[in-house]
Structure formats: C-alpha cells, structure tokens
C-alpha cells in the first residue's frame, strides 16, 4: 500500500522531479534562469497543443450537436485537422490593408498571445506546479488579462476598417463591462480564503470531509459565484453567446476582419489561450484547482484533474455555443450592469453571512435564500420590463 502511495506521489510529482533532475546539470548561478525556462517552456508547449485539440473537439462536438460528422478526412477521425489548418494559415498570404498602421497592426496579435500566456504564470496546474507563486496571484491574473483588451483595440483601430472599428468598439465595451462582475465574482473566494495567492486558494480546497472535497463551488455563494464567473468569463473570452466583437454574421469578423494568414491564426489562438486561462482560473477559484473530486481518487496525478476539469469546462463552452444565438450589444450591457453586477454584489454579502454564521443547516438555508431570491426577483424584473413572453397566436379559418 505504501508502495503504491509512493508511486502515485512520484507520478504526481514527475514533472517537478524531472525539472529538479535537469537543473542538477546546470551551474548553480544559472539555476534560477534555467528553472524559469524549464517552467515556462512546457506551458508554452502544452497549451497550444491543447488549443489544437480543442479546435478538433469543438468542431467534432459542434458537428455532432448539429447532426454532422465534423472533420473526418485528415488523419484518423480527422485528428490531423488542426495540423492541416496550421499549415494552411502559415502558408497563406499575409495581407495588410494599405492604410493600416503597420506597426500596430503587426504588434496586436503578438501582444494578444503574450498577454494570454502571461496569465498562466499564476495558474497552479498541479501540486507544486505553478510558474510563479505570487502572493497577489489573482490580482496579477486580472491585471495581465486586461492587457488583452488593449491588443484587441490595437487590432481594431490599426486596421482602418469600419468593421474592425465596430468590432473594437464592441470588444472594449464588453470586456471592460464584464471585467467588473468577473473580479467581483472572484472576490468571494478571496474573502473566504483570506489570500490572493492561487496556490493558497487551491490548497485550502484540497481537503476532504469524508469523500467530499471542500471546493468552494459546493457552497451557495460559491455556486452563484461560479456561475457568475463563468458567464463573465464567456464574455471576457468573446465566446458565444457573447461573441459580439467578432459577430460573424453582423460585422464579418470584428476587430480581426483585416487579418489573414498567420496573424489571423495568432488571434484565434490568443482567444483560445485566453479562454483556457479564464477557465483555469474558474477551476482554481471554485473547482478546487488540481484536487481530485473524491477523496479516494487522490492517487490520480493532480495535473490530470486540472486538465480534466478544464476540458469539461471547454465542453460546456462548446455546448453553449452550439445552442444559443448571440445577444445584442445593448442587451449585453444590460446583462452586465443590471443583472451581473447586483448579483455579484449580493453574493459578497452572502459570502460574508456564510463566514460569520456557524456551520449548520440554518447557514445553508439563509445563504441559499440570499442567492435564489434576488435571482428570481431580478430576472422577473428584467422580464417584465422587457415584456418578452411566449405568445399565443390566433388563426383565420
């Protein structure tokens, strides 16, 4: 038994051990630098790979939802489709509009991808597997994440295209609006954990009562926070039904209308990398990070759980995308300011109440009421003001 436990532990820590083993070959003076490189390189390799797999999963999943096969020609089950797409975008002509601001136009996709990658610095992918354990990790995450807005605006502005400009306008408005509920939704976790460090937050959730983990999502405020966070994250990463900035059927491709070839692919990748990062943050904050969902499954390596949860979230993203039509700009704004913001603020109160009440059924009841009642009231208010309803029709014989 102990042997097995040791093996599981070794498997869990295999990347950490490998890194330390490799660092042994490096002179002591260069070790910090090499340590950093050895931490960063796998992330830079793993997530683009995940991006490739995700595009495949997305196309397959959407296909099946739409009663199609999805890609199935390139390689077995179409698995080499992302590779083919990559080769295609690399070999395509890179067209820059004549009047574009060339420097900014060139820099925008690079900035987007680098900003997206910088988010991963604070994401604990597994036990002891985090690039930088900053004690203000969550803050760092949101700060760096908002760099993406800058990149989007650069792209939209420098293209000198009306569609790009409209897309950039939409993107800025949307991303800034949803940053507020995104941060507010995560504050409940910080209140509870008492730390801004992502590692500390995960460690706090990686404990068990019986077989059940202490994930924050299993509390009323945590669940509400998680749902709100996911909605805001969908908007942050411009995914359907909040994909207005690129609103394909309205403004062609929004801010990256004028991009082609590899720069277009970079935008595409940046979006997905950003989506994984916000998804990873949702996991870290609410779904216990790398911790196993049941106590008896802790022997499975922690990074496996991280990626399993991430893929599950991605599947939900795809599912939502396959079902819902897009919102309109004013509705999007209304949702952010009239629904998300009050809900996140009330959720802060709920989290406070949870903190100060003693454990027990009463606490559950009070806090659940504090979440559900405002939700019902708010949604009813929204519905009545909009007057939208399922109508009945009359017929002429």
């Amino acid at each position: 038994m102990t042997h097995l436990a040791l093996l599981a532990q070794q498997l869990d820590q295999i990347f950490v051990l490998a890194k330390h083993w490799l660092l042994g070959f490096v002179p002591a003076g260069a070790q910090p630098l090499f340590s950093a490189v050895l931490s960063v390189v796998p992330v830079i390799l793993a997530f683009p790979l995940l991006f490739a797999i995700t595009t495949w999963i997305e196309r397959k999943g959407l296909g099946r939802m739409q009663n199609r096969y999805g890609p199935n020609r390139v390689g077995p089950f179409g698995l080499l489709q992302p590779l083919a797409d990559g080769v295609k975008s690399l070999t395509k002509e890179d067209i820059v509009p004549l009047t574009a601001d060339h420097a900014v136009h060139f820099l925008a996709p690079i900035l987007l991808v680098s900003a997206a990658f910088m988010d991963y610095a604070v994401l604990p992918i597994g036990r002891n597997m985090v690039i930088a354990n900053l004690n203000a990790g969550v803050l760092f995450f949101f700060a760096v994440g908002s760099l993406m807005e800058l990149a989007v605006f650069m792209a939209g502005w420098s293209s000198r295209s009306k569609y790009s400009l409209l897309g950039a306008m939409r993107a800025i408005a949307q991303m800034i609006s949803y940053e507020v509920p995104l941060v507010l939704a995560s504050i409940v976790v910080i209140m509870q954990a008492g730390s801004l460090s992502t590692v500390a937050i995960v460690n706090m959730q990686a404990a068990y009562t019986g077989i059940w983990p202490h994930w924050f999502v299993f509390t009323p405020w945590g669940f509400a926070g998680f749902v709100l966070f996911m909605v805001a994250a969908t908007a942050e990463s411009n995914r359907s039904p909040f994909d207005l900035p690129e609103g394909e059927s309205e403004i062609i491709a929004g801010y990256y209308t004028e991009y082609s070839g590899f720069k277009f692919a970079l935008f595409f990748m940046g979006e997905y990398i950003g989506m994984f990062a916000t998804g990873g943050m949702a996991i870290t904050l609410f779904l216990g990070g790398w911790s196993a969902p049941f106590a008896f499954l802790t022997w499975i390596p922690s990074y496996f759980w991280f990626f399993a949860k991430l893929l599950t979230l991605i599947a939900v993203f795809i599912w939502v995308r396959g079902t819902l039509p897009r919102l309109r700009m004013d509705q999007l704004m209304n949702l952010a300011w009239e629904f998300m913001l009050p809900m996140t603020l009330l959720n802060l109160l709920t989290a406070g109440a949870w903190h100060f009440m003693s454990a027990g059924l009463l606490r559950w009841f009070v806090c659940s009421t504090m979440v559900v009642v405002p939700y019902i009231l708010l949604s009813r208010g929204l519905k009545q003001r909009k007057k939208f309803q399922i109508r009945t029709y009359h017929f002429s014989e």
Partner: protein, 207 residues
Amino acid sequence: MVGEGILKGMAETARNFFGSYVSKDRLTTVQYPEQRDAQIEAARSFPFLVYDGADWHDGMRCVACQICEKECPPKCIFIEKSKDKKPDANGKPQFYPATFNIDISVCMSCQICVEVCPFDAIMMDVDTDLSTDDRFGGLLLDKQRLSKSNEYFNAIHPTEAAAVDARLAVERARQEAKAKAAAEAKAAADAKLTAATPAQPASGEPR
C-alpha cells in the same frame, strides 16, 4: 424564470449530440466518394444521344431535325445536318447529324430537349462526375462522347426506357406493316402494269 428556455434548448442539443451516435435518422450525411446513395431512377444530369445496335454511328436515332436545337432554352445544342443520308435502325435512309455538340457548361439540365424530340433520340444521363481541367474543350461534348447505347439507357432509366422501347416497337411494326402493304400494293400494281403493257422497254432507259 430566466434561463429556462436556454436550458431547454441545451437539453435539445444534447439530445441531438447523443442521438447522432445512435440514430441513423439523425446523421444523414453520406461520405461521398466511398459511400453513395442509391441511384434515383428519375434523376437527370445532362443529355446524351441514344443509339441502337452495336455501332454508335450506324445506330444513331438522331435524324438532325434540329428541333432540340431550336427549343433548347439556353441554346447549348449545336447541330449540323449531314449532306447525305444513312439508313437508320429500321433501314430507312435518314439524315444524320454531321456535328452534334452539347456545351454542358451552358446546359441547365432542364430536359426540354428530351420532351420535344419526336424520335426518342436524346435522353437524360445520370452521370455527374464530369469535372475536368479543360474548361472549354472538356465540357463541349461531341456526338461521339454523347452517344450511349440503348442498353445503357435501359440500365439507368429502366421504366422510361421500357416505355420508349415499346413505343418504338409499335412504331416499327406499324412501319413494317405499312412498308409490307406498300410493297404488296406496288407488286400488285406492277403485276397489273406488266400485264397491261408487256412490250415496254425497261424504265429509266434513254430513248
């Protein structure tokens, strides 16, 4: 409550997602080059010329009457009538098309040529794999490429071909009967003639 309709919709897409793995009814895609749907008998692509017998030139039913050329809405048929006549399948001397071209890059598969043809000489094909890299030459079909045997016609449109064959057989029998009657009448007339004027020189001889 807000979200109810969204959840309903998501349940529906999930049902279709799993349904596509179990129900053939939901996943109707045909993997084209490997799988093909069964050929639908009435389907049509482009016209072809029917010939009887073994040789496409000798058995060609077309008599270059040029009705299809005139009636073709996009004017994709081009016919030149021959100067001489050749015997058709019934042995009757007929004109034949010296040139018969169909520009299938112009043809719109409307089947009007088939409907107007009084000789059942032009029919609709079912072959759609006609892509070529020679846009103008490769899509301009001459009479040799257009000619296909009556057996082929029977194979692709059995019902229609059977009707056409029956009609032609009736027509042929009628013509044969008519020819026979004419021959008999002629023979009788000749007999009468020879009986009446026995000492006439052979006809056609210059005096």
